[in-house]
């Protein structure tokens, strides 16, 4: 039994994870149906990380994300309708239909954007932390990236930089063991992300990312340290991506035993069992899961019915000075 976790907090985690799962499932189905253009990177199986980390953040805190960013955005409080419309490329999307899944962002809740470039969000988060510190804000920056990102230069530069200037940034290495289609440990030398972070002056801890409580507790401690001015920290959350790399990858290349084992460690089921243990009625959990399923189904229907953006919108949001205007005639 985890004494620091009251039922309400557990239910918050459960709800956030369930909403992410329902969103991802609905999006994936819509993609299969052919109504979502472009590829999706969904985070089914990894929900515990986004939920556990973001439960410890305020709206003022900023996050940056990677290509697999729907869960991070939802956990940070991004509006579902704007997200789904964005995936569909429709009017009313958070990015006006110009970003899509890979560039999902909702600045109104401190979600500074998913990123199509592996490790692209790391320098941005570091700089956001530097700016927040300069402005004497109590907010912090949190940076989500995958295990594949630790092999790019910006990871090393960014951690060095964050430690050097003692910046309020929490790095989250969401370790699902794969860099796209390749096992990360087959392309990564040395003892791993924690040792790399330590060598750059960033203390880190490893948690079971499929245990949302463990993530919540560890993130809570690290967020408090970061907010308290102790400098950057890193959370290494080990998890598993149940679905493929992209929406078009059936993941048939994977060892079925690994997938079966991962499903047995499904973060949502695990928390559900714990909640039942703590006396929450199964019917209440089922009702919650049905409600979030309906919420996402409604978002899909809304997105399907939403109009396509006007051609003129393609010419907007480029720059103020030197902007090219829409002639009114299609090119």
């Amino acid at each position: 039994m985890e004494p620091t976790h009251n039922i309400r907090r557990l239910m918050d985690l459960y709800r956030t994870m369930s909403r992410i799962r329902a969103f991802e499932t609905a999006a994936l189905n819509a993609h299969k149906e052919g109504v979502v253009p472009g590829p999706l990177h969904v985070s089914i199986g990894q929900e515990g990380v986004a939920a556990g980390v973001c439960l410890n953040l305020t709206t003022e805190d900023r996050i940056t994300s990677n290509h697999r960013g729907h869960g991070h955005a939802l956990a940070k409080g991004a509006g579902v309708q704007g997200m789904m419309r964005e995936l569909f490329g429709r009017e009313g999307g958070h990015c006006r239909g110009k970003g899509g899944s890979m560039h999902i962002a909702d600045f109104s809740v401190g979600m500074l954007g998913a990123n199509g470039v592996v490790s692209g969000g790391i320098p941005i988060a570091v700089g956001a932390a530097q700016g927040l510190k300069m402005l004497r804000s109590s907010a912090i920056a949190v940076c989500f990236f995958g295990d594949g990102a630790i092999n790019r230069g910006p990871f090393l530069e960014g951690l060095n930089w964050a430690a050097l200037y003692n910046l309020p940034v929490l790095f989250i290495c969401e370790d699902n063991g794969v860099s796209a289609f390749t096992a990360t440990d087959t392309v990564t030398a040395g003892p791993g992300v924690i040792a790399r972070a330590a060598s750059l002056g960033v203390p880190g801890v490893t948690v079971d990312g499929n245990d949302a409580l463990a993530v919540d507790e560890a993130a809570g401690r690290l967020v408090a340290e970061v907010r308290g001015g102790k400098g950057p920290r890193l959370l290494h959350a080990k998890t598993f991506r149940i679905t493929g790399h992209t929406s078009t990858d059936a993941a048939a290349w994977r060892d079925p035993a690994d997938v079966a084992a991962a499903k047995a460690r499904d973060p949502i089921d695990r928390l559900g069992l714990l909640l039942a243990d703590r006396g929450v009625a199964t019917a209440d959990l089922d009702a919650l899961r049905l409600a979030v399923f309906e919420e996402m189904e409604a978002a899909v229907n809304d997105a399907k019915a939403a109009p396509w953006p006007d051609e003129a919108i393609a010419y907007e949001d480029v720059q103020d000075v030197g902007a090219v205007r829409f002639s009114g005639v299609s090119a």
């Binding site: 790391i122 941005i124 927040l132 720059q319």
Partner: protein, 325 residues
């Protein structure tokens, strides 16, 4: 307004100083900036503004660029110093995929209000990795402003405007002209982007240029004048936006165009100028439209080899005379 004669590097120093005094959210980051910067363009900033606003960084170009963007997203206005243009190659993702795209990709939610300073051009026999002029690459990149001044007053006024701009501005300091002198006002007013400066008036020929090669162009124009050829000399000052009206109006009068660039001529900005003038005025009104630039080879080290690549006043005079037919 009182004016004083200063070097170009002092002019841009004064411009950044003025803006950092005016706006406490403006700060500068880059290698050695707390030591005054490689050229002294931030001399004495550290004692006045402190280490939090004058940040000497690690040699981490990706993060210098990317962190500048992140800091802009939370409401500060960084001046991102790249030291020498060529090193921006180590930060191209952060510049091209992030800074130039973020406002658009996020549907207007983001304002990447940064100035990226990239001192460029041939300089003191620095060879192929410290002499490049690739400003045309960035004109091709939607989302950014491209600034290429040549005089102290223009560099100062354009830098002030760049720092105040909400758009990301790529500011190409003409590093070989840092010692050049000129008058700068004691209060530096912003110079708008997209307005060319007429450096010399003449009715026979229009010469268009920008950045470090401008003094050679003016020297050539003086020689041409002595030979009875009067050139309109236009310093574009900014390449995006650029003053198409001024250039087209001039060529409409003179009927002849020569674009002079220090950069490699092939696929350079000169091609854009020539194409725009021909499209706008029509071939019948343009008797000559020519480009002069470097051959398509890297900048060599040895002084005679470097000299051979450079665009010189003599080459400009010859190209102008060829354009006169």
């Amino acid at each position: 307004m009182s004016m004083h004669q200063v070097t170009l590097v002092e002019a841009v120093r004064l411009a950044a100083l003025q803006e950092m005094r005016r706006d406490p959210t403006v700060w500068v980051m880059g290698e050695d900036v707390a030591r005054g910067g490689l050229y002294g363009q931030y001399r004495d900033f550290l004692p006045e503004f402190g280490a939090e606003r004058v940040v000497s960084t690690p040699i981490s170009e990706s993060t210098i660029m990317g962190a500048g963007l992140g800091a802009a997203l939370v409401g500060t206005r960084p001046i991102i110093e790249m030291r020498i243009f060529d090193f921006v190659m180590c930060a191209m993702d952060e510049l091209v995929n992030q800074i130039a795209k973020i406002r658009y990709m996020f549907g207007g939610q983001a304002r990447p209000s940064v100035v990226v300073r990239m001192p460029h051009g041939i300089w003191r026999n620095s060879a192929a990795q410290h002499s490049q002029m690739l400003e045309s690459w960035f004109v091709h990149l939607p989302g950014v402003i491209v600034v290429t001044p040549s005089t102290p007053a223009d560099a100062a006024g354009l830098l002030v405007n760049a720092i105040r701009s909400d758009d990301p501005v790529l500011f190409f300091d003409p590093k070989n002209l840092f010692p050049a002198t000129g008058d700068v006002a004691s209060v530096i007013e912003p110079i708008p982007f997209g307005k060319a400066r007429l450096a010399r008036e003449g009715r026979d020929l229009t010469i268009v240029s920008w950045s470090a090669i401008m003094p050679a162009v003016e020297q050539a124009a003086a020689t041409l004048a002595a030979d009875g050829i009067a050139a309109d000399v236009i310093d574009l000052r900014t390449l995006w936006p650029w003053d198409q009206e001024a250039v087209c109006a001039s060529v409409a009068r003179t009927g002849r165009l020569l674009v002079v660039q220090e950069a490699v001529s092939v696929a350079g900005f000169g091609a854009e100028v020539v194409a725009t003038v021909l499209e706008t005025l029509g071939p019948a009104r343009v008797k000559a439209a020519r480009r002069l630039g470097a051959p398509r080879i890297p900048i060599p080290f040895s002084p005679p080899l470097e000299d051979a690549v450079k665009v010189t006043p003599a080459k400009i005079v010859a190209a102008a005379k060829a354009a006169m037919g």
